[in-house]
Amino acid sequence: AALKGELRFQVSVALKEGRVTPTELCQRCLSLIKSTKFLNAYITVAEETALKQAEESEKRYRRGQPLGVLDGIPVAVKDNFNTAGIETTCASNMLKGYISPYNATVVQKLLDQGAVLLGKTNLDEFAMGSGSTDGIFGPVRNPWSYSRQYKEKSHSEDKEPNWVITGGSSGGSAAAVSSFTCFAALGSDTGGSTRNPAAHCGVVGLKPTYGLISRHGLIPLVNSMDVPGILARCVDDASVVLGSLAGHDPKDSTTIQDNFKPFELPNLTDVSQLSIGIPKEYHAPGLSSEILALWSKAADLFKNAGAKVIEVSLPHTRYSIVCYHVLCTAEVASNMARFDGLEYGHRSDMKKSTESMYAATRREGFNDVVRGRILSGNYFLLKQNYENYFIKAQKVRRLIANDFVKVFGSGVDILLTPTTLSDAVPYVEFIKEDNRTRSAQDDILTQAANMAGLPAINVPTGLSERGLPVGLQFIGRSFHEKQLLTVAKWFEKQVKFPMIQLEVKRHDHSACHNQKSASFS
């Protein structure tokens, strides 16, 4: 049976009807993971536990009692979420060999729904970066580097074209979803870490409102901005995963107490009641002309469909990345203080004194990026700098958040912006600049939504001239995910983003040129 693995809904239906079993699905995904090992998307593949979970799911389907829509669906989780019994490394030497004693709340919720956890995905070390290139397990390769669409446009006769980055920091999760090894994946989003790789890998990346989904078990980067992110192949899938994860968690006091009701997305046909805002500052310096054109076409699309499309202004956008830089490094300096080698993680052999042991452990465990941010953060938090940098940044944060309040208060429902400045760059180009410079460049369009805690989603929109995915971003009002996702779903339907034509040698060593790469038969 030709399974359209593209839409999880369809797979769900297939599972229910018995056309495919959870164990078959799990095995195919595991096999595909092996075939796509060169992507380096996974750090740990939990083969045994995944198959056990799949077997349990199969028993439930046979009894006619699946736990829900997610029962038996293979998922992957970014390696900065704690997963009981499975190594959680954050791609760092500091946590290499660390076996979590508990499941993060979001992981537990997925497992309670019967999802099959395939493994932990690769990321930048401690989620610091915008390329998924700075972890100890090496960089993640964008599956589109191996697509027919990219190869056709690369004009290289015999040599393999340079592979491109996935974006970051949830690059492994994005690559896993994009290459069909799982149906949905969890990422985290602090400055754009879910939406950026989603745009580069051609998948849907949702950043929920801050406070909607529990952060308990997510190894923290910036406590006031982190959120778990959802990566999926279509907006409906993202919505279903959101439905199973959102809601108050007594273990995370930053989750709101309001009752959350999972929703099904309506099929919007009439957008004439919508007001779409185009923030002019999001034409940031360096925005590629291709993405500008796509953004324009999208605006025209809404206008021609009857929506009100107006230009708006978020005047403090250009300071968002500077503000983030200060607040992030300051919170990082605090959050990384827990890594001292005593209770968990790497421990140095230095025994002279507690302080020298801590110093040696941290010197050995952290990479340059992490150490750099800790030191910068401590600088901004020094007594002589506290007012001028940290407090100043907090004030600027309020100005940024107020910009959004003003715009949404003036009747705009959703903002439409680009997600990234350009399509994915080749790895060899990306590493020419250091991590901080790259993050400052790449997070420019995604960062402000984290500052203000607003929900935002990347929807894959089209292919660039080089054959690589480009996405557009929708930003919504706080806790208005239903409206945001409804509009995103309408847009997704209009643009009909092409399926990746991945050329992969199957694990059984027979070359397989998948026309409909989604089918697992």
């Binding site: 004693p101 054109a293 699309l301 499309v309 952290f366 020094l382």
Partner: protein, 165 residues
């Protein structure tokens, strides 16, 4: 011709199974298409980087660098590490261009909501063994640390890059 483009794009008929790429017109057509009202997307960047870059600050002194290494218990490692900090400070200095008179600092986007306290009842615990599993040095139910209350050696006696040549 242009109307055709958009018309095709707008069709939502199901069963259009051919995967269709979003057709990209040449850049000029977007701005000067006859009959179409200008798109609200600004054709030029709305701002430029570093328009009013303040003068570079004085270099961070070795005393401050040493102080940072002690506070953070993390080392600069080499000149590149120190340079990184300098660049980070210069980048952060852009904040001073913004007028924040009368603006209160924002700690959390959820500041308008109540933080609820729960009942002071023990609901979980008794997981000593699990927690000890991840520690390298332990004795019975204790984590073992090297002797404390010994300050880090002074700059001159430490093996750090900041010592200088």
């Amino acid at each position: 011709m242009r109307a055709l483009y958009l018309g095709r794009w707008l069709r939502t008929a199901p069963g259009a199974a051919r995967s269709r790429r979003l057709p990209l017109p040449p850049a000029r057509a977007v701005l000067t298409a006859p009959g179409a009202s200008p798109a609200p997307v600004p054709p030029r960047p709305a701002w430029r980087h570093g328009e009013q870059r303040p003068p570079p600050q004085h270099k961070v002194t070795v005393e401050v660098l040493d102080h940072l290494e002690r506070l953070a218990l993390v080392d600069f490692r080499d000149a590149e590490g120190v340079e990184r900090l300098q660049k980070a400070i210069q980048f952060a200095d852009q904040l001073h261009e913004v007028n924040t008179d009368g603006v209160e600092p924002m700690d959390s986007v959820l500041e308008d909501r109540c933080l609820y306290l729960r009942e002071d009842d023990v609901t979980e615990g008794n997981c000593t063994n699990e927690l000890l599993k991840n520690a390298r040095e332990k004795v019975e139910e204790y984590f073992v640390a090297p002797p404390g209350n010994i300050p880090l050696p002074k700059l001159e006696e430490r093996d750090t890059f900041l010592q200088g040549p």
